[in-house]
């Protein structure tokens, strides 16, 4: 008998998701899925190396939050970062090339799977140590408030969306940063992707209060729990959190209940998670659920969705071809980028 937390109910009538937004979200989720499936294939074919953490199953979280942001906002991720990068607008070509270690990659082949960066797309990283991205995201959020209040800049408040896992929520940096974000009313959205596992450590075995969103109360900030397999629900809570942050009212903690459909990384045999648990979660596939939603709400036709799948497959193939054909970094540049001057 699997003990699952009841996914919070969501009344979709409340949303104002337009057809255009719906198709945009769908395309983004499909891109995430297809890209990751291709990564698995390329990894097993020896085209990419190192630790590669895939995002399959969690797409509704990246798409629902990041697609609600403006291009001037910031995104901060972990080592499970491919899809956050794609949602933030880093071209699939640049992400794939990075995974291939090519100089055309978004980190010029210096970073790899766990260190995707793009200043242009306001992607702060790509952080391979659990929880270390949270303070960095806090700094970007502080910067937004500072620019307005200490430097007199105008324009909408930039918001930072900071992603991390359930495992990170037992680390001091999580608590320290929630405290400072709330204390200084920083424009940041903390997005916990609770996929129930931190490698082989089950969430309930690691934490004294498994309902992570409840921890927000201790810092005087709103904490919301959301069905992380339902992109419309995620999009909705993201909008609310965004409005709050932009208005200068401070941070929100969003706990998205989700599940990864693959092992922790491509090197993980995934032996600890039970068959029952997987059987509970697999049918909740966020992409299938959203396709059904778009169709029943007359926001899209079957043929349109099929066309999206086709276009995305072509885009991912193009990304692979680009990565294959791209040059390796020049060995003469081995020491470049150590200091700001080079």
């Amino acid at each position: 008998m699997v003990q699952e937390r009841t996914l919070p109910e969501y009344h979709s009538a409340a949303t104002s998701l337009t057809r255009a937004d719906g198709l945009r979200l769908y395309e983004d989720m499909v891109l995430g899925r297809e890209f990751e499936d291709k990564c698995a294939e390329m990894y097993y074919r020896g085209r990419m190396f190192g630790f590669v953490h895939l995002y399959n199953g969690q797409e509704a979280v990246a798409s629902g939050v990041i697609k609600a942001l403006e291009p001037t906002d910031y995104v901060c991720s972990t080592y499970r970062d491919h899809v956050h990068a794609l949602s933030a607008g880093v071209p699939a070509r640049e992400v794939m090339a990075e995974l291939f270690g090519k100089v055309t990659g978004c980190s010029k082949g210096r970073g790899g799977s766990m260190h995707l960066f793009s200043a242009q797309h306001h992607l702060l990283g790509g952080f391979a140590f659990v929880a270390e991205g949270i303070p960095v995201a806090l700094g970007a959020a502080f910067q937004a408030r500072y620019r307005q209040e200490a430097m007199g800049e105008s324009g909408p408040m930039q918001v930072t969306a900071c992603f991390f896992g359930d495992g990170a929520c037992n680390n001091g940096q999580f608590f320290e940063c929630l405290n400072m974000a709330s204390l200084w009313r920083l424009p940041i959205i903390f997005v916990v992707e609770n996929n129930k596992w931190a490698i082989g450590m089950a969430h309930e075995r690691a934490t004294s209060q498994p309902e992570i969103y409840q921890k927000a109360a201790a810092f005087g900030m709103p904490g919301v729990e959301v069905d992380g397999m339902n992109v419309v629900a995620v999009w909705d809570v993201a909008q609310t959190a965004l409005q709050r942050a932009r208005a200068g009212e401070g941070p929100t903690l969003i706990e998205a209940l989700t599940y990864r459909f693959r092992g922790h990384s491509l090197a993980d045999p995934d032996e600890l998670r039970s068959k029952e648990e997987k059987e509970y979660w697999l049918p909740q596939d966020p992409i299938k659920q959203f396709a059904a939603y778009l169709l029943t709400h007359n926001l899209a036709q079957e043929a349109e969705l099929a066309a999206i799948h086709q276009e995305i497959r072509a885009r991912v193939e193009d990304a692979v071809a680009f990565a294959e054909e791209s040059p390796e970094p020049d060995p003469r540049d081995l020491r470049r980028y150590i200091y700001a001057e080079d």
């Binding site: 806090l138 910067q143 980028y337």
Partner: protein
């Protein structure tokens, strides 16, 4: 010209840079209302406000990481370590985030960040408050490490560090904050990457930094009386080392003594000796000597503490010994 205390020289540097560039701000424990544990930011919050003199909770790893994020997004933070030793808690942020991130990101981001504060062995502060982190951090790629030693260089170097586009670890010394010196009225900025030839000489090159500069100069007085002519170089930049200044000195004197306050194992001197071995071996007329602190946690007891760090007399003896040697 008024005499300025070292802590005030640092304060002037921060004040001038904050006035010059609104993206410069200070964060750390008690940097605002309290004015900093050594008064380096005293009353600056009255001029610049609470956001630019940001009093943080006691959360070193998170506020240091926060400074990295602010630097990545265009601000120029100055982190004050209430005591530099406390930044051991922020080792990850200083190493992985401040030091390595620019490289890892393939040049996507630069991190104009200063991390400064008091370090070194004080007066009976006990082991935890007597640390010399420069040795621990020297292996981290992407960092610059600077140690100031006089009011004059403290001010000029800190201004340069704030203007630099790289993460700079800026070490002050707990026992040097009350040094006095007349400073120029006009604004000045000193190069971050240059060692200072404190006393030119012919017999031996003494490489030192921070408080040990003053121990060396005490020893030099005695040595001059005994007819020695040592060259004293204050390294200033501990990473990268200024071989353009150190190298010619070695080729002139052919003898080197390193005097440092960090522990011997894995110290700044260890790195210097290894580099001299690589590049200047043929120039040497005597083995390079290292005078370092003992490889022990700094003891509380005053006389044991004195035995832990290098004293001027040992420097005198080392010079006499190395100059007498012929190989």
């Amino acid at each position: 010209m008024a005499e300025t205390l070292l802590f005030n020289a640092l304060r002037e540097a921060i004040d001038e840079e904050m006035a010059r560039d609104p993206s410069v701000f200070v964060l750390g424990e008690d940097v605002g209302h309290y004015g900093g544990s050594y008064k380096v930011t005293k009353d600056l919050y009255k001029k610049y406000g609470d956001l630019r003199l940001l009093d943080t909770p006691i959360a070193e790893n998170s506020f240091t990481g926060m400074a990295v994020g602010a630097a990545m997004t265009g601000l120029r933070p100055i982190v004050e370590g209430m005591n530099m030793g406390f930044l051991l808690l922020a080792f990850n942020q200083i190493s992985n985030n401040a030091g390595m991130l620019r490289y890892t990101s393939g040049g996507n981001f630069k991190i104009p960040l200063v991390i400064r504060g008091p370090g070194g062995v004080g007066r009976q502060l006990g082991a935890e408050h007597s640390q010399r982190l420069e040795a621990y951090f020297q292996a981290v790629p992407g960092l610059k490490i600077v140690a100031c030693s006089t009011p004059y260089n403290a001010k000029g170097l800190l201004k340069a560090a704030i203007r630099d586009d790289n993460p700079v670890l800026f070490f002050e010394h707990v026992l040097l904050y009350n040094l006095k010196e007349s400073l120029p009225e006009a604004e000045y900025v000193l190069p971050l990457d240059r060692a200072e030839v404190v006393r030119p000489g012919q017999d031996v090159t003494i490489l030192t930094y921070s408080r040990m500069r003053h121990h060396v100069l005490q020893a030099v007085k005695t040595l001059e009386g005994r007819g020695f002519d040592p060259e004293v170089i204050d390294l200033i930049s501990l990473k990268p080392l200024d071989w353009q200044t150190i190298g010619p000195s070695i080729t002139k004197t052919h003898r080197v003594i390193v005097v440092e306050e960090c522990m011997k194992t894995g110290g700044i001197g260890a790195e210097i000796v290894a580099s001299i071995n690589d590049n200047y071996f043929d120039q040497l007329d005597a083995p390079v000597l290292r005078l370092s602190s003992a490889d022990i946690p700094t003891p509380y007891n005053g006389s044991l503490e004195n035995l832990t760090i290098v004293q001027p007399l040992q420097i005198v003896e080392a010079v006499e010994k190395t100059v007498a040697l012929q190989v």
